[in-house]
């Protein structure tokens, strides 16, 4: 009896420690990012840093404005959402409500496969197919552009949007749909006027999840966006994202430049925290 209780306590303790390790990691990363991100912002000035339009870290008179990266990340993510969400959402409605079980299982495996493809492969295919394609179709000097990044990101966020939306749509009680059909509504009408509204917070969460994935993606966009710190004035501009701004210079950076990279990481971290909080908000509402 006593021995059993002791055992319980020990196991309980082990699990608690494991849980605390996770919390500790998050805290450590946050604190580290804040501590290492602040000095450069102090030195450059918050406004000059966030709203400066020019990034020239290796010039004799270096400029550390990250507005191009911030805007590129926002435009790139927004573009991916504008393309990816309607496609993913429609796919989810089709799979959850209309497709036969056989079709559903085939497409769902394809979606899972898409989710498992490493981002470097997306980047590679983008480089070999999309970039030259854009150059030819739009007749621009370089296809590596914001547009290419948007398309790649849109495809990359599809799996999470589809999966989350399906989960939300599958959870809609069949009674609602029956009631609608029994009133003489067609199945399609029923899905869009009853099932989708009933699943809306789950679908919203799917969108936020897509935003999180798109904003944090580095490898694929580095390969297809051109990776030049331009302001994203047009879809065909070669651009650099927040993520790739950090990774492309980290290896050879030093001094203030290196500190500025940490500050960029901090800004990115804030963005991702914000999407995470939004996601939690929607998931909580879904549960209620």
């Amino acid at each position: 009896m006593k021995k059993n209780q002791l055992m319980e306590k020990v196991i309980h303790g082990i699990f608690l420690v494991l849980g605390l390790i996770t919390v500790g990691c998050v805290l450590l990363i946050t604190i580290y990012l804040v501590i290492s991100g602040i000095p450069a912002i102090r030195e450059i000035g918050l406004v000059d840093f966030l709203f400066g339009k020019q990034w020239a870290s290796t010039a004799t008179e270096p400029k550390y404005g990250i507005l191009p990266f911030i805007l590129t990340s926002i435009y790139g993510t927004a573009g991916a959402i504008v393309i990816g969400v309607p496609v993913g959402f429609m796919t989810a409605v089709y799979l959850s409500k209309m497709a036969s079980p056989k079709v559903k299982s085939v497409i769902q495996s394809a979606v899972s496969l898409l989710a498992g493809i490493p981002s470097v492969v997306y980047g590679l295919v983008g480089m070999l197919v999309l970039v030259p394609g854009i150059r030819k179709i739009f007749n621009v000097p370089d296809g590596a552009s914001l547009l290419a990044a948007i398309i790649v990101l849109a495809i990359m966020i599809l799996p999470s949007i589809i999966k989350m939306s399906i989960t939300a749509l599958d959870a809609v009680p069949k009674e609602y749909e029956d009631a609608s059909l029994a009133l003489g509504a067609t199945p399609i009408e029923t899905y869009f006027r009853v099932s989708v509204p009933a699943a809306k917070s789950g679908i919203a969460a799917a969108v936020v999840l897509g935003v999180g994935r798109a904003i944090g993606e580095a490898m694929a966009v580095m390969m297809v966006a051109g990776n030049v710190p331009n302001m994203p004035d047009s879809l065909f501009q070669s651009v650099r994202f927040l993520t790739t701004a950090v990774s492309s210079e980290m290896a050879y950076s030093s001094g203030l430049q290196r500190q500025a990279l940490f500050s960029i990481a901090l800004v990115l971290f804030m963005f991702i925290m914000l999407t995470g909080a939004t996601l939690n908000f929607f998931l909580k509402r879904e549960r209620e």
């Binding site: 609602y176 029956d178 009133l183 509504a185 509204p197 009933a198």
Partner: protein, 251 residues
Amino acid sequence: MSNVINVKDMCLWYGEHQAIKNVNIEIPEKSITAFIGPSGCGKSTFLKTLNRMNDLIPGVKITGDIRYEGTDIFAKDIDVNNLRKEIGMVFQKPNPFPMSIYDNIAYGPRTHGITKKTELDEIVENSLKRAAIWDEVKDRLKKNALGLSGGQQQRLCIARALAVDPKVLLMDEPTSALDPISTSRIEELVLDLKETYTIVMVTHNMQQAVRVSDYTAFFLLGELVEFGRTEDIFSQPQDKRTEDYITGRFG
């Protein structure tokens, strides 16, 4: 008195399992017909066939002939959505949509093309009045319907069904999830409604059948054992199995 629905030699299979066996019945207009029988005998299945809600279940096969006002409901050129508008349905568990009371009632009319606000307002008010729930909800039409009590929700569902102006109302154990007071309110309501509508009601409660119905059909193992005026079925059943059931010897 004429019949609204005529069923001839109807059989239904769920895959290999035959749930309805050769049923013949004629449902009289503007009256209440009760379906009774032990659970699993096919009452709900038969009821759902009448507005073709069974079509949606994969693997269902139906044979025989069902006519609504003389037309074959399985004819190729029949508009199922229109059939379901004519033959409304109320479910066992109250199932209002997770939207406002107003939108619940307006859902059907909007589906069938009514968009004018004044017209919708009128339909909403009339339907809620006919379902005897107007006084309870008239000040909270914009509130979510899920905030109503179970009995109110069920009357709301009846109002929602009435809003598309059906001729027939199918009800599948509409009071089985409700308390006695809500149950008697629904029973009163149903008795009122038969002035205007033909009502078919599944019930597992024989007292309820006696209280409200004009005709009773007794189902057993997918067969329609006996059908007749309610007082006859309960006072002098023709079939031994009916007698056993209503005297509580099984089921």
